[in-house]
């Protein structure tokens, strides 16, 4: 990525309040093409709310969200999906009574354009997008199962596949490894790397710092709806405010050790 590229996403003084509670305050940031931006912060910091705003499910109270220069602040969720933003949810969302394949087909068929009437049957490209997305997350062999019966890791992977089937430019992932085991976290990490390798920009919310620092090109920490840190993952452990309000001394020391180890690992 060169610095002359205009950013893919621009959030300009975005604010969101629920009555008297301000969940996101005057937040401005950008995400460049091909970048992985990590977002952290304590519970209730406004991370999920930020995704709600960007995906149109709960539009901003003020400020603007631009995707490729286009104002999508007040666009509907489906229009934002068509514009190229797909998200996954913190609470594993899925179409429980649909099969795994049908879950992904929803994204492949409806995620690309808002035609008045869809085709009578999925087009070959839609079939291909479905197959590719299932392959990407490794769910091809289980595509006939009913989604509601899947274990938690598979549900999370299925959400990622559904998002990827829409062929997004920007993927928003809300706690993709929350509640997963160490090994499962590694598997999700490999999946995110495969997605990033296809050139998709990713914004990642995660409390699991191991995951967040390993993947993020840049990290932003929110607290009470405001940014308290933005910069490299390595800089997190040197930032007094981040240690005080979010990481704590213990976690911060462990993270510092992890970062030192990571540096010695062959690339």
């Amino acid at each position: 990525m060169t610095t002359t590229d205009p950013p893919l996403l621009v959030c300009d003084s975005v604010a969101k309040s629920f009555g008297s509670l301000t969940a996101v305050r005057q937040l401005s940031f950008t995400a460049g093409r091909g970048e992985i931006l990590g977002v952290g912060g304590p519970n209730g910091a406004g991370k999920t709310t930020l995704f709600e705003v960007m995906s149109g499910l709960n539009p901003a109270t003020s400020g603007r969200v631009l995707l490729e220069g286009r104002d999508i602040t007040h666009a509907s969720p489906e229009a934002i999906c068509h514009a190229g933003i797909a998200r996954t949810f913190q609470l594993n969302a899925c179409f429980d009574s649909l099969t795994v394949r049908e879950n992904v087909e929803v994204g492949a068929i409806f995620g690309r354009s808002g035609r008045m009437l869809p085709n009578l049957r999925p087009s070959p490209e839609m079939q291909q997008a479905t197959d590719d997305a299932l392959d990407l997350v490794g769910l091809s062999a289980r595509q006939g199962l009913v989604a509601g019966s899947l274990p938690v890791l598979d549900r999370k992977l299925l959400m990622v596949a559904g998002a990827m089937a829409t062929r997004p430019k920007l993927l928003l992932m809300d706690e993709p490894v929350g509640g997963l085991t160490h090994a499962e976290t590694d598997l999700m990490m490999a999946t995110v790397r495969r997605i990033a390798a296809t050139g998709v920009t990713i914004i990642l919310i995660e409390h699991v710092m191991r995951f967040l620092v390993a993947l993020s090109d840049r990290v932003m920490i929110l607290h009470h709806g405001e940014r308290i840190y933005e910069g490299s993952a390595a800089g997190l452990v040197q930032d007094r405010r981040v240690i005080d309000v979010y990481l704590g001394e213990g976690a911060s020391a462990r993270l510092a050790a992890l970062l030192r180890e990571g540096r010695h690992e062959p690339a």
Partner: protein
């Protein structure tokens, strides 16, 4: 064979089998009851699209049926229109009414949709029966614009009396069978295709569906509009078949009877509603002798299925 091909093949096989029935039994009672089964079959397959497939708890189905029925009767009675064009126009009018209802229900959830649609149906019923001023004065006596409590009769037919003489009802049997075939194949296409996928996705998780590009307004209007056409047509055919229509089509027991068909057969499935219609109509034949107990029996069947077999008879097989 894909599920869709299987459904179409099954529909054709079923219709072929039904097509020989009049050649074997020509008892008027049997043929007429089967014709009524075709009418209710169409109504429940279409209602199932809204209720089971899209998961929108609309109870306006019989009001839509009534729009098709009354529309046809009024066009024929007042306008002297031939049956077939009157039926088509009335069915299109049903689509229009249904789109308005679908739009009104858009922001409502679950039980509120049921309440609003029931209120709309009741309102239409009250408009019809409370309309007592004479609009015309035919020899049979004062007739309000909407037919009042008496309804409409004497307005032309499909022409089978001229064609088949005393066997005219066999003509109606085949028309009903043909309409049911078209309605059922249409449902299978819809349920198995991308539109059905959109309806089911919105039913399972509206927020998630919207963020995957499925527009709620658009698909809610599609399901209301599409299912209304054949519902209106079933109402229109009911009028053509019986030659009368009255406010009984709005009755709650009728609505419950049809709802029970869907629940017993299996909501949201391709074949459940027809299976349920067959089972309940046969059961109803059996309960004819017991009079008032019929409604109680129906209520018990409905409650029993909701509690014990929420996925209906079709759901039994899949377990």
């Amino acid at each position: 064979m894909t599920p869709l091909r299987r459904d179409i093949a099954a529909s054709i096989a079923l219709v072929a089998a039904m097509a020989v029935v009049p050649l074997i039994f020509d008892t008027r009672y049997v043929i007429t009851q089967l014709t009524v089964f075709f009418i209710w079959g169409i109504v429940v397959t279409q209602w199932n699209l809204v209720l089971g497939v899209a998961g929108i708890f609309s109870l306006a189905q019989m009001a839509l049926f009534a729009v098709g029925a009354y529309g046809t009767a009024m066009l024929a009675y007042y306008g002297g229109m031939a049956m077939v064009p009157a039926m088509v126009i009335a069915s299109l009018a049903t689509v229009g009414v249904s789109l308005v209802i679908g739009f009104a229900c858009l922001r409502l959830k679950g039980p509120y949709v049921a309440l609003l649609t029931l209120a709309i149906a009741q309102m239409l019923y009250l408009i019809v029966v409370n309309d007592t001023g004479c609009f015309t004065n035919p020899p049979s006596g004062c007739l309000p614009l909407l037919g009042g409590v008496r309804g409409f009769s004497r307005f032309g037919d499909l022409g089978f009396r001229d064609l088949l003489g005393s066997k005219w009802f066999v003509g109606h049997y085949y028309v009903g069978l043909g309409l049911l075939l078209v309605a059922q194949v249409f449902c299978a296409f819809l349920i198995r295709g991308p539109l059905g996928l959109a309806f089911r996705a919105l039913r399972d998780n509206p927020g998630y569906a919207m963020s995957r590009g499925v527009g709620r307004l658009k698909y809610q209007l599609w399901v209301f509009g599409l299912s209304a056409f054949f519902t209106g047509l079933a109402g229109a055919f009911y009028v053509a078949h019986f030659g009368v229509v009255g406010p009984i089509v709005f009755s709650v027991s009728m609505l419950l009877f049809l709802l029970a068909m869907i629940v017993v057969g299996g909501m949201g499935t391709v074949w459940g509603p027809l299976l349920g219609a067959a089972v309940l109509m046969i059961a109803d034949e059996g309960l004819r002798e017991v009079g008032d107990w019929r409604e109680i029996g129906l209520g018990l069947v409905l409650a029993g299925f909701v509690i014990l077999l929420p996925r209906g008879l079709v759901g039994l097989r899949r377990r």
